[in-house]
Amino acid sequence: MNAVALWGLFVLIGLGTFLQRLSFIFLTGKIRMPGWLQRALRFVPASVLAALVFPALTHPTGTLDLSFGNFRLLAGLAGALVAWRTRNVLLTLLAGMLVLWALQAVF
């Protein structure tokens, strides 16, 4: 990929992302948001974040691995438990990374 195509890609992605960020900050008060859109948008963060997190645990090397040899799945479950109980990013990171390193060190 040459430099023009690469930076063009960044600008295209960045511009779309900026417009998404600006959307309601700019439009609220100018147009009314349809009710169905408001209801659907409520589920976007949970859906997208889960869609990013689940495969990262089940497909650590690109293929499905649900065995006990999948340390990332086990460490991820430990992180999930901490995230659920504490809602704390830092503690979740610590728990997940420590379990991963412990499993890697022991096995």
Binding site: S23, V44, A46, L52, F54, T58, V89
Partner: protein, 235 residues
Amino acid sequence: MKPIHSDFLAGARAVLPILLGVVPFAMITGVAAVGVGLSPLDSFGMSVIVFAGASQLAVLQLMKIGSPWIIMVLTAWIINLRFIMYSAVLAPAMQKLPTGRKSLLAYMLSDQAFGVSVSYFTTHPEVDRNWFYFGTALTIWVTWQISAIAGSLLGTLIPTSWGLDFAFPLSFMALMFAALTDHPTVVAAIAGGLTAVLGKPLPNNIGLVLATLVGIGSGLLAENMLPVNRQGRAQ
């Protein structure tokens, strides 16, 4: 009347614990960028222009396997759809600001700035929301850029066996749990997550698009099937 910038400082302070999650995540995007052959300058350009780590990582993975550019663009936009929802939540407080200010605050919008700000607003109704949010967002932006540059310069020195890239799903997991506010959002997350797992073998990240749509649809369905939990909504 208190001086206005005290809420900016409060925002900057409130975000400090989160930075320990932001730093490795940003570094990973720098490491990943250099890993697929971008120069540190390209990496910095992407980081400043896009400033959305999850989508940057996804695009870099697609770049590695040689996906068409349109797939990379669409994937990034899908992942970043959640910013529309954040934008809707932050919008009311920003209505009186000039367009330039709105644009600046919008550009700096991140999961972490949103999460910290909104949870602070529920317990501190008297805070100047825009200054507080600006404090969180700017602190995260600066930390992100410095960490991403560091990642792109030092990246090759960090052994991959440390598995630092695992900080990415972990930090998103914490954000995901913060987004689970009631039963329908839990249903959306489970349905979206399982669809993403099943759809992982599909080409061009189609699984991610499907998962997002299935998650939203399942959440709406769950909301319509559960008649309770409507307290506080007048209509």
